[in-house]
Amino acid sequence: MSAKDRPIVSSLVNVAMWLERRLHLVKVWKATAGHPIPKSSASWFYVFGSMTLLCFTIQVLTGILLALVYIPSANEAYRSLEYLNYQQELGWFLRGVHYWGSNCMVVVMFFHMTQVFLWGAYKHPRELTWISGAVLLVLTLALSFTGQVMRFDSDAYWGIGIGAAISGRIPIIGAQVVNLLLGGPIIGSDTLSRFFALHVFVLPGAVIALVSLHLRLVLLKGINEYPEPGVQVHKQTYWRDYEETVHKDGMPFVPDGIGKDLVANGLLLIVIVALAVFVGPKGPEIPADPAQVISEAKPDYPFLWLLSAAALLPNGSEIILFFVFPLIAAILLFGLPFYSNVGEKHYSRRPISVLVVILTYLTIGLLTYAGITGPWSPRMEAWSGTPTKPEFIAGRSPVELQGALLLQGKQCRNCHAIGGEGGHRGPDLSAVGTRMDQPELVRQVIQGGGNMPAYGNTLSPQEVSALVSYLVSLRPQNTIPALNPTNPEKTERVSSGELPKQAKVGG
């Protein structure tokens, strides 16, 4: 039976042919989705780019839907989020997908960048593909930061405060930058509105433009062939060889090369949905009320490493962290395809590149882990809420017990843990008696130093001696008290066999 015998089929074919004549669909298809790629490029390692694009698509879709309900006003934003979480049908789900989609986008984009770096895909003639990708990384991080401001809870409020404090360190024009960032002299509705405009118009628009350029470059300059060790990139011959490979041994991206991308993207989608359903959206935490000074102002995952670095670097190095380091990082990142333009592509021949990746992952990973545990943040409730284990109390004299009470009551435990419980800003005091002797402890308590405030004005002499006598008693069984080599009297006393009597229960 031919098409002539089936009038519906034949009219459909006619419509299709007419559309083809008007829109040249076959030509467009061949030039885009069906563009030829080297067979070696259909690799499991080459799936991260499309995964990033999937994340962005999810963000745009869920973002538009969230904007149907969200109210970008300092007065209403928080309540509209609560409404989304608890009243709007499936609002919690959309918020969850949007939140986890954003985290996944940053992570997957980082993987994509790592792969492109290790596989040498940024080299001649794909310099602009890399640079447009680097700009996309910056834009994505900006989207992530402005996105957490949308929550407009306490963390977001003080997060803007941190952004302002960092901007305020810019020499000469710091105050003006802060004013522009906040949209006025102080954080308020204008601040949220401008972050909203950035988050939903400016940055996504810029991403769409850059992604278009990025994909256009993939079509123009081809997808990187799977590199082989020993094969060098030469400017004179590369493109000729590449075109030959694609011509002889190529295949269309759709349908032949897209299978692995589809599998990886399907899995990613399931992961995002699972995270949204089982972990749920983040926040909002307590409302953005400046009178509630109980926020730790922790940023979302993509920025935790920066917070950690700010905490761990020596005091006064902020100017390096916030201005010199980003400048160097930007020069290295954007300049990469120019100072490493030709030569070997395969990672097995590029040990420094492998080292750079390992160090970067270790640095960001460890700093992020440190950011989650936050050992430098005082535990603000430890003094009133953290119990002391019996072994740190038992067998003490009344004066030592008074010292134990002072240690609790004077908020020492906000920074000092005992038996691992309490803050970790200062050293754990469980065995401080083995490290410092009585005169040293008195000096430390009264004068402070080494990142500890001085308590000379807040403690009476009796309180200091009680506190110190308790600290001296803090040492595990069968350990000797700290010896001060400049104090011969004490050294002699300990060596004369008094030791077992002094050792108390602890640790």
């Binding site: 006003s73 300092a74 007065n75 209403e76 003639p125 409020y157 003080w158 405060g161 941190i162 302002a164 404090a165 960092i166 901007s167 305020g168 810019i170 003006q176 802060v178 004013n179 522009l180 906040l182 949209g183 006025g184 002299p185 102080i186 954080i187 308020g188 509705s189 204008d190 123009l220 081809g222 493109w239 694609v246 409302p287 009320d289 400046p290 009178a291 000074v293 109980i294 926020s295 102002a297 700010a310 905490a311 006064g316 902020e318 430098w376 943040s377 005082p378 603000m380 003094w383 009551g409 004077k410 908020q411 020492c412 906000n414 402070g448 990142n451 500890m452 405030p453 001085a454 807040t458």
Partner: protein
């Protein structure tokens, strides 16, 4: 992939002209016209973006209430309404500062923003310290730096007593670039 670097374009203007045509004239007039129009719309746009900078919003004097609201020798948080508030600000119009009534009419008023990265510092009466929850900066009761990464003591607001009311000069977020 069809496009190559060696691809050549056909010349748009085959023959070079040595005379000016009406097309050239219109091109020039059009360019000038659009430049002027561009400025006419562009300058207000830039002005709008920079409006918060152009509009002067210095710290202003306002009252924190009668002096008797503050106990002698004690540190207390005072909540005040942002002098530049708008209705849409909601809760964020409520701003805070720490007020130390040292004795009698002797006061010291601190911003709640840590001088390191702007997190909110909290007062601990027992140890007479301000502690910052972010990176563990600590300040003494007189606002001086006690420990941690902050580069200086707490920001101090100017204050005065008028008709038995404590007035402070605030309303601008204090940063290192604008330490009140």
């Amino acid at each position: 992939m069809a496009t190559n670097e060696s691809e050549s374009h056909p010349p748009v203007h085959p023959e070079k002209k040595s005379y000016s045509t009406r097309r050239d004239f219109l091109l020039q007039v059009g360019a000038v016209l659009n430049a002027i129009a561009g400025f006419m719309i562009g300058l207000p746009l830039v002005g709008f973006i920079l409006s918060s900078l152009i509009k002067s919003t210095p710290p202003v004097w306002f009252s924190l209430g009668p002096v008797s609201n503050f106990q002698e020798g004690a540190m207390r948080m005072a909540v005040y309404e942002n002098p530049y508030r708008r209705e849409a600000d909601g809760q964020t119009a409520r701003l805070t500062c720490w007020v130390h009534r040292i004795s009698g009419d002797q006061f010291k008023v601190f911003a709640a923003n840590c001088t390191h990265l702007g997190c909110p510092v909290r007062w601990f009466e027992e140890s007479q310290l301000f502690l910052c929850p972010c990176h563990g900066g600590a300040f003494y009761a007189d606002g001086e730096h006690a420990a941690g990464p902050p580069p200086r003591g707490l920001y101090v607001y100017e204050h005065k007593i008028v008709n038995g009311e404590l007035q402070v000069k605030a309303g601008v977020l204090p940063t290192l670039a604008f330490p009140v």
